[in-house]
């Protein structure tokens, strides 16, 4: 009788151990899956904010942590796109615009830039914002030249499909910004704020005034590789800036086809 009880107890313990082991196994597998997902998420986030910021958010939650840094801001906008859009079917308009964003984003990322946001038909790209980059200004102008070449190719594709050509203006300025997680509780993003961003936007608008596609400020020119061919433009008064703003049109690069 006692033996039977011992055997029954052992059997029960065995079953319990087996079930526990199975449960632990299942939990470990779920944990492993969750970990893979978390790592993928972390890697994905690191494309949108510096690794240190992502880590801080994971460890301590979203906070108003910010820092001042010197970056190069590239602002690109399509010229006359609103009027162009009025003559196109909405689906065609979106297809053309998405094709443009896709190509321009690739040109920016290939030159170590970070596409911060799309604003209507505009693009705000940052260089030196996610990683320290002493060559940020050269990278930005190489990106702008790549955008020029890419747009020419895209226009050829559009023309072959019987679609209208696009025209783009690019403004580049280098200066200090405040970078951090900015937004509301419901919508927050890694962003930069400051006069530098506004100046880049104003300079982009001056491309229409001067009839060129890429314009840079004096601060940008001062940090640039001398092999970029620049043409000085007459200073123009712009909103929010006391003195007339001198700018330079970027004509090309004399250092070969490939950017460093």
């Amino acid at each position: 009788m006692a033996w039977a009880a011992v055997v029954a107890l052992l059997a029960a313990l065995g079953v319990h151990a087996w079930r526990t082991r199975r449960t632990v196994g299942a939990l470990e597998r779920r944990l492993a899956t969750a970990r893979r997902e978390l790592e993928a998420l972390q890697q994905a986030f690191e494309r949108f904010a510096p690794a240190e910021v992502v880590e801080h958010v994971i460890a301590e939650g979203v906070s108003a942590r910010s820092e001042k840094k010197e970056i190069t801001v590239l602002f690109a906008d399509l010229q006359g796109f609103t009027e162009l859009g009025e003559g196109l079917a909405p689906a065609d308009l979106v297809t053309i615009l998405n094709g443009y964003f896709e190509r321009m984003s690739r040109a920016i990322v290939e030159h170590r830039g970070y596409v911060s946001k799309f604003l209507g038909d505009g693009i705000l790209a940052l260089f030196g914002a996610l990683d320290a980059n002493p060559w940020q200004t050269n990278d930005a102008i190489h990106a702008a030249l790549a955008m020029r070449r890419t747009l020419a190719d895209y226009n050829a594709t559009l023309a072959a499909a019987g679609r209208p050509a696009l025209a783009m203006g690019v403004g580049v300025h280098r200066g200090p910004v405040v970078a951090g997680l900015i937004g509301s509780e419901g919508l927050m993003e890694y962003d930069v704020i400051g006069r530098t961003v506004n100046v880049a936007s104003r300079v982009e608008r001056l491309t229409r005034t001067h009839g060129v596609d890429i314009l840079v400020t004096e601060a940008t020119r001062a940090a640039l590789d001398g092999r970029f061919r620049l043409r000085p433009m007459p200073p123009v008064a712009v909103k929010g800036i006391a003195d007339a703003l001198p700018t330079f049109a970027v004509e090309g690069f004399d250092g070969g086809a490939t950017a460093p």
């Binding site: 492993a32 970990r35 893979r36 978390l38 690191e46 494309r47 510096p50 690794a51 240190e52 994971i58 460890a59 990683d131 320290a132 980059n133 002493p134 060559w135 050269n138 590789d225 001398g226 092999r227 250092g255 070969g256 460093p260």
Partner: protein, 362 residues
């Protein structure tokens, strides 16, 4: 998650160089250092100084750092650099040393929540910040380590261990080394049976403090001097001297690669030192400034024209496959010895420039 599952998800390209023969004398040197000959030796042998530097730097030549911290730091830094080779190998080393799989997995997941002492956690945090170097760890961060019980020589050794892993990570990544056989070996029944014995042999033993190497002259003498009292000082001096004495690439090319990495890491001390050294190589101040500002110059030879802009890409990389593909492009047409020496120099430059935080005042 098992080790193969973790590493299988890591991006990694085909290896750059085939395994070649290793001179018997070099093999014997490595065997004395490691107790065995790691698989990477046969691919790195074309530039013997790289083999010697790697073998001596990663075996933790430390006298003041508490035992065990270096092994954990090696895992954390390798993971942070997404170095598939070093991460897999270090994982296997930890298992061989007796760390449980679940513990290693917790470390990988987030060492902030793993069962670690405050000192261990602070040390791993510092090692990772050394590796990222964006921004460079400030003096205050070294002082925080002092608050949790690290002596100044132990902090310097921790910085050295992190820099040594940065060296190994870059060397292994740029050469896209295939997984180390140790990863498979650790699960073999016989190895599991003998694990305690193997672990005893593998465990890095604290060494005795050593005076600064004599002479400590030439480039980076001040970085070496910051390791005074540690055997790491001599190891670093010999690695630097070996790199500079190697006849494969000209001294000027070596200095240029160091200068570009220094510029990328904001290491003004190393950059100034390299400017002075380049002046002796008939590159004037304006030439060097032009090269560092633009990564190009008509003064560069054909090989430097390829290597100099590539140097910046070895400092921080988000996509392993992208930097490995670029390395392959840069290596096209170069001899194996030139490839390995380039990789070794870039790895050493990354290590030395990071280690120079020990000299930063603020």
């Amino acid at each position: 998650m098992t080790a193969p599952a973790v590493t299988a998800e890591m991006e990694w390209e085909e290896t750059l160089l085939p395994a070649g023969s290793v001179p018997a004398e070099l093999e014997a040197e490595v065997r004395r250092q490691f107790g065995a000959v790691p698989s990477w030796v046969a691919r790195v042998a074309p530039a013997p100084w790289v083999v010697r530097a790697w073998a001596t730097m990663v075996t933790q030549p430390v006298a003041h750092l508490p035992p065990g911290i270096g092994d954990l730091a090696a895992l954390v830094v390798s993971q942070d650099n997404s170095c598939r080779y070093c991460f897999g190998a270090q994982r296997a080393v930890l298992r061989m040393l007796g760390y449980r799989e679940a513990y290693i997995a917790r470390l990988e997941r987030d060492f902030h929540v793993a069962e670690l002492s405050d000192a261990e956690r602070a040390a791993l945090d510092f090692a990772r910040r050394m590796s990222r170097a964006d921004p460079r760890p400030a003096r205050a961060e070294r002082e925080r380590l002092a608050q949790v019980g690290f002596t100044a020589p132990a902090v310097a050794e921790l910085a050295f261990v992190a820099a040594a892993i940065v060296f190994a990570n870059r060397a292994a990544t740029l050469l896209a080394l295939p997984p180390d056989p140790l990863e498979q070996m650790v699960d073999r029944p016989l190895v599991r049976l003998l694990r305690p014995v193997i672990a005893r042999r593998m465990r890095s033993k604290p060494r005795r403090p050593e005076p600064l190497p004599e002479p400590n002259e030439g480039p980076f003498a001040s970085v070496v001097a910051a390791l005074e009292g540690s055997p790491a000082a001599g190891v670093l001096r010999r690695a630097i001297d070996g790199a500079l004495a190697s006849p494969v690439l000209p001294r000027r090319t070596k200095m240029l690669l160091f200068a570009v990495v220094a510029r990328a890491l904001g290491c003004t001390r190393t950059e100034s030192e390299m400017r002075a050294a380049l002046a002796l190589e008939s590159l004037g101040t304006a030439d060097v400034e032009g090269i560092l500002a633009t990564l190009a110059s008509s003064r560069l030879d054909a090989r430097e024209t390829r290597l100099v802009p590539f140097a910046r890409e070895t400092v921080r990389y988000h996509r392993i496959a992208a930097v490995q593909r670029r390395m392959r492009e840069v290596a096209r047409g170069l001899e194996p010895a030139e490839i390995v020496e380039t990789v070794g120099l870039l790895a050493l430059a990354n290590a030395v420039c990071r280690l120079s935080v020990l000299l930063d005042a603020a």
